[in-house]
Symmetry: C2
Subunit: 233 residues, 2 copies
Amino acid sequence: MIPIQIDSAWKGTSDCRNCGIRDMVLFADLNEQDFGAIHTPIDDLLFATDAALYTEGEKAVGVFTLRKGMVKLVRSTADGRARIVRVLKPGDVIGLEALATARYDCEAIALTSVSVCRIPLTVLHHLSTHSSRLHMRLMEKWQHALKDADDWLADLNFGTARQRVARLALKMRDPEQPNFTSFFSREDMGAMLDLKLETVSREVSALVRDGALKPGDKQGRRYEIVNEAFLRA
Amino acid sequence: MIPIQIDSAWKGTSDCRNCGIRDMVLFADLNEQDFGAIHTPIDDLLFATDAALYTEGEKAVGVFTLRKGMVKLVRSTADGRARIVRVLKPGDVIGLEALATARYDCEAIALTSVSVCRIPLTVLHHLSTHSSRLHMRLMEKWQHALKDADDWLADLNFGTARQRVARLALKMRDPEQPNFTSFFSREDMGAMLDLKLETVSREVSALVRDGALKPGDKQGRRYEIVNEAFLRA
DNA sequence: CGAGCGCTTGACCGGCGTCAACACCCGTGG
DNA sequence: CCACGGGTGTTGACGCCGGTCAAGCGCTCG
């Protein structure tokens, strides 16, 4: 694992009105008046794989919306090891907690190359008290984040190693090609499932042997889902 | 484990202005004008141990504030077993997710006898768009719930059985008597830590043998923390 | 005082962690 | 173009932790 590296690039300023994924995100149902109240520019940013969007405890300037790629939320436990608490996908908000505390509760690291836009806290604070439309959207995002956290706990940290890996395969399906799923480094997968990387590797191999998965590349990152029912059991 | 039983009693209507724990809860910094906008009565309710406040997927009428006692949030996993995702303490809000979806995401069951007040969704929806004070409080509650969920995952579902039980002991300290901690039935503890009840029992006994804990009653529910440093390691 | 429930303890076994060797992919430099 | 080396994934052998099954104990409440 490469240590933290800040490796981001400024891509320009967002035109939120014409955002390609606007219907998924916070500004989905803002009207012209709401947009007029945004006085601080919203930046588009790119992060390379393994770059940190922010670190645990860092003072927050804004909240991110994930446009493309995947981001892991990492928390270091009392005994020093790193634990991945969730993985965020396009449309998700990164660092919501900053709205309440102006600090980030855990570290956010790009799992792939990542495209995000950063919305300043001031903008959100101002809009959320003046626009009930944004207010409702915010509630939905909070609720989604909390449900996600609970799902993560209930689905991926329960049962045998085999079951956990199978559940992860189902959770990480490609939305566009539902019979394909993308994995991560075995070490990352271990930190998500509370397993050692060797165990993860063994169980992935076993699922391939049993005909539930089929390798889609040679690096062990992409697999085809052959037998979905098997993965569910 | 006793199956679900609805066992609640109406204790009256709350006088929120003079609530004993008002500074901890959602209505902490409402002003007289805000209170004037509450047109639906807020009920005080009592639930007996093992009673369900609501069940998973149930249509929600309101959100609860926990005044006294403890409540577990239970989720049934795909393979039928029950998983305790969090335990709520006085001052916490129960069923926040209903604000966004009007449904409860998981089951809430009283771990002790419990005193709550129920705030109708209509009241919160109306107030949160008209009072930036409540709005801010809501954010804080969401953030706290999310942090709690992540803590639960990172602290209690990681490491050896011994470590998990030790962490639970620290997490469940009595706020008033910090050298005392309260446990639950071994089965519930197992559902929190992802361990079997026999393992929990063994590890608790081991911690007592090693001089880290001392039994405070004969039912195995209350223990004195003798060696805090030992529990942290 | 007896029944029943929950907690404890023991014996045994299987799954996962540990340590280690090896295979494979890829980038680098000769 | 090939040789080399590091990083990552895979596979094997072995030991220990925790799951399983079962017996026994000690509350509490009829």
